[in-house]
Symmetry: C2
Subunit: 315 residues, 2 copies
Amino acid sequence: MAAAAAAAREPEVIRDKAAMRAWSRRRRAEGKAVAFVPTMGFLHDGHLSLISAAVAAAAGPVAVVVSIYVNPSQFAPTEDLATYPSDFAGDLRKLAATGAVAAVFCPPDLYVRGGAGAGESGGAVSCLEDAGGHAHETWIRVEQQEKGLCGNSRPVFFRGVATVVAKLFNIVEPDIAVFGKKDYQQWRVICRMVRDLDFAIEIIGSEIVREADGLAMSSRNVHLSCEEREKALSINRSLVNARTTALNGNNHGQQIKDQIVQTLEEAGGQVDYVEIVEQESLTPVVRIDRPAVICVAAWFGKVRLIDNIEIQAPS
Amino acid sequence: MAAAAAAAREPEVIRDKAAMRAWSRRRRAEGKAVAFVPTMGFLHDGHLSLISAAVAAAAGPVAVVVSIYVNPSQFAPTEDLATYPSDFAGDLRKLAATGAVAAVFCPPDLYVRGGAGAGESGGAVSCLEDAGGHAHETWIRVEQQEKGLCGNSRPVFFRGVATVVAKLFNIVEPDIAVFGKKDYQQWRVICRMVRDLDFAIEIIGSEIVREADGLAMSSRNVHLSCEEREKALSINRSLVNARTTALNGNNHGQQIKDQIVQTLEEAGGQVDYVEIVEQESLTPVVRIDRPAVICVAAWFGKVRLIDNIEIQAPS
């Protein structure tokens, strides 16, 4: 009986688009909300918190779908698509252990590839810049919010994210979808896309989950050496200090940014950006006199980490 | 009783996005397919043929939704948004007379407008190039197919079409959608978008409907003078002749295009383009040795008309 109960909690693994949509429509017909958590796998407690948030967001019966798909179109050719970590068996064990996941959608590929331009294998090509008249060619751009922050150093990233999320939305047809606020700009881009394109989906932004020492959880943390990991703690430390400074009445954005850059560089990090922006529009703010978020991207060794901290308007 | 029966055929007029989606979901729950015909109004027999095609495409019970919305985002500032013809009362009468339309969706506006940039009225702004961090900013581009043909002279057109159609798809949630093949590139762009973004919608391309004298039906025909209208017959005449030439064994694209240009110019038209392209990819063909389509855009007076003719591969 114990084994049967455990087996009953195993998520169903679905690889086919049509089967995924049919599964989702059956759950809807049974009166369940479908809640969706898109991931690129190599799951950690941050991902698992998204599943809890999905369950919490549903008012009644809910079927949670987690997708695992490393989306090639959001990686530039110079980026780490080839070394992005994966552990499918481990992911499945973690998802089963939550007891809260009904299905895992893990398609072998989501894009129509062209002929000669796609390579012999037809396998993953970063950012999918295929030639030819029959390959994937439809892209969604959130033209303001995709600029700035990570958009500066990752020019195809948000185009790839918005497009693959729209595809997943059209396949899974969820009522609710959950995104982590660690990828703050991504979350806002998805919110804006959902608003602008009238997707019938409620988007939940879920709080950042941190290790005991404060490092924001990320699949890429596995690539940090012990020493780099120690240095990377400067990110969260500097953000917490910045918020304290702002809440204590110093709302000068530039001074706060300078302090963060100094802390990160002293720790040995290489700063990509430190920006303070409005929470919803992501437009830069000079003074923190309205709800804002401080966003950071920095390299520690060969690993690029991002983090952020929200600051409600100081009283 | 007769009056009641007539009243029963009156389409329900829906102006609100949420009400439209709820209506559509109720029809689905009743076991009906939802078939969708997007239009910009000022309906003619070409539009009405799309409704017949929608009914014919459904295997079982069907609820047909026609939308009437002049989409500002597909008009460049120099184009004819302000003079685009409209006759809502007449449209409703024509739709009711078909007896086949269950609902008409006619939203006052579909876009979130920014603050100061949107003008005092918040009304239609061609191509919607609003400034500000809160206005509509999400655009869908079908990057290969939107190039060439009408894409050359109407640079924002297909961006606006793809985006508004995606919005309408997400609001109406149809099973089937019908587009006229007179707007050949538009039809292909929508087919490609649906494929690439995984919309669960079957797209039907419906044949061109012509006046008795051969002129392709268009809402813009109303702006032609009698004389211009007579001259515009050269479009269909030259296309039919071109197909005859090709089917008789002359597959030299350039010769065929030159002949069409000459015919149009002799009739007093100003040619925007004459192109021969592959039917699906819309890539140009030099010889008509595979399924191709000849596409024409030309001005007669102040009216820009488009038309096309498909040629299956000659034997």
